[in-house]
Symmetry: C2
Subunit: 388 residues, 2 copies
Amino acid sequence: MTRDVAIIGQGMTKFQEHWDRGVRELAAEAITEALQDATISHEQVQALFVGSMGRFGGQEHIGALVADYTGLTPIPATRVEAGCACGALAMRSAFLAVLSGLYDIVVACGVEKMTDLTDSGDLISALGAASDQEWELQAGLTFPAVYALMARAHMAKYGTTKEQLAMVSAKNHKNAVNNPKAHFRREFTIQQILQAKMVCAPLGLLDCSPVSDGAAAIVIADSEIAETHECPVWIRGSGHASDTIALQDRPTITNIPAAQVAARKAYEYAEISPDEVDVAEIHDNFTIGELMGLEDLGFVPEGQGGIATEAGETQIEGGKLPVNTSGGLKARGNPIGATGIAQAIEIMLQLRDNAGKRQVEDVEVGLTHSIGGSGATAIVTLLSSKRR
Amino acid sequence: MTRDVAIIGQGMTKFQEHWDRGVRELAAEAITEALQDATISHEQVQALFVGSMGRFGGQEHIGALVADYTGLTPIPATRVEAGCACGALAMRSAFLAVLSGLYDIVVACGVEKMTDLTDSGDLISALGAASDQEWELQAGLTFPAVYALMARAHMAKYGTTKEQLAMVSAKNHKNAVNNPKAHFRREFTIQQILQAKMVCAPLGLLDCSPVSDGAAAIVIADSEIAETHECPVWIRGSGHASDTIALQDRPTITNIPAAQVAARKAYEYAEISPDEVDVAEIHDNFTIGELMGLEDLGFVPEGQGGIATEAGETQIEGGKLPVNTSGGLKARGNPIGATGIAQAIEIMLQLRDNAGKRQVEDVEVGLTHSIGGSGATAIVTLLSSKRR
């Protein structure tokens, strides 16, 4: 009885430091581009979902703000927030909205203007607002520190090496060279990554995603409308799960349990198994995130993320499952709210055979994996060029 | 084909200054009470929606935080935000989620800990984040000032008087005396209200809703589950609309166009007309808000809000349409995120004949009206004891 739902258009700004534009201008650019790509007029859009963490500037009420500056009023505008998973949450909320039958055409947009905060202390506080402020941030546990604890534990338990972490960064930076929308389009050698300034051991500067500004948007529609479009990308499965806000309250810190729950739900919904996935965008906010993601998503056995990466399994050339062909959070950039939508757009380009020099061959199923905080939110989405 | 959806349980903290508790404790109390009221166990809840503006403390990612502290992990937790309409947006999002068919039992919660900010300048900035920060707040146009402009225009255009504004406050304070959950349970005379300290002319201190802490939660379920409960309250209609974020960009400032759009959609959805509504909770963040609401919702002709109030039409005793029997934002209190849910709870109590000394007779249909910012978001919900 459920409706089939597809993405029929995409648009995004370049991810970079946008000193001349704010949240409203960035979001409007991405949405306008997405509507053009979908050949949908502003008047046809029935609802808007905006993912944004928002804490970097003084503005809340970002749903209505974006509807206003994009010329979409008076449609319902909803802003959602779940730390770094904001964008994926906007996509999932839009998906549910179409499933509800109330709407046939909706827009999901993610946006962040991180450089509104220029003081690094303020930036650390803003990012830490996605972790447990009272039990983690106020005790000095910043975000890089949270993931450094996870990385250390992973290394101790499974023998994961700093070199393997560096390989994630090197691969993603290499992929970003061919992505014109990426923030950092340059390669780094393993040696450069290992010698980068230490942020929080074992994570160096080049293990961490950067501070970026940007927006990304997709148009989501019911099958009746989607079927009239040339290359609809079907949302075949979606899973969303929560967990303790603080890392200390979890029985394990070498993986992200919520991601495992979300993945299971998405696979079940789609009736697709991990080995059918051809390409994936995994939440590499820190390099250890990609290794845990590979394991939580069932692509490699527990503890084998580093080994699989070292074996080249996640590379575009010759890899069994190319991961983060866009450059990932690491090199494409991570403007918090925009990231989850940008992941879906990369999968969309791959499915449409539109990914240029970073195109993977014979892609039929792609996956996005978004994590909020240290794993208190996880959202997994399965996209395919084939309708179920 | 659409599902019928009902509210089957409610819980809320007292609205007051809660110096000993934070967002997580307040939300957990409200949700636990709502689940008990619904005779639903934690394990039966399938998704959580949390409305919170959040800017008053250092914590974001409030959906997962609340799921965690209420013992609801690993269910999907979504935080939504739309200024003062956060709570109503959580209710609407939960409604859509059940309509989608993905869930049968969900919780919508609203929560705010406004007293986390004790500096009045910080508080003004936080509240101003729901208006246009760049074009309004930075120019000195605070929230009371935005509504003062609307009040002045309403007075000039329709002859509305300061006394009529004061009558809204007096009525709502009188109603709150009988609401044990209300923040300010005391009466004021018209004279006291007119002589209160001026905030922004024509709005004095007793024309403005207070700074409160609190949480409110409801359990929302599909008809199959709802029908097994004693007094389900059916969500018969829901409308949601957006408008320009800044007041200056609207053709009129003597009403709230988004509220008119949302009301029309809600009435159409429910196939209910304004004259069938027996009781209403209207967004009286400032006294002028209730007068504009009466007009925008079609209860009185344009410009007649003040006259209808003066004629006693909105009083519990002898009124044609009792408004804000709970005490409204003015006297029950306005902990931003919690307000929209608290409105629905008041209507629920009225529909269940559980409103004690403030009970209205023969209530079959009730309405809630929530406004975000100066009207960039409006959400209207129609509730009834009768299924369609």
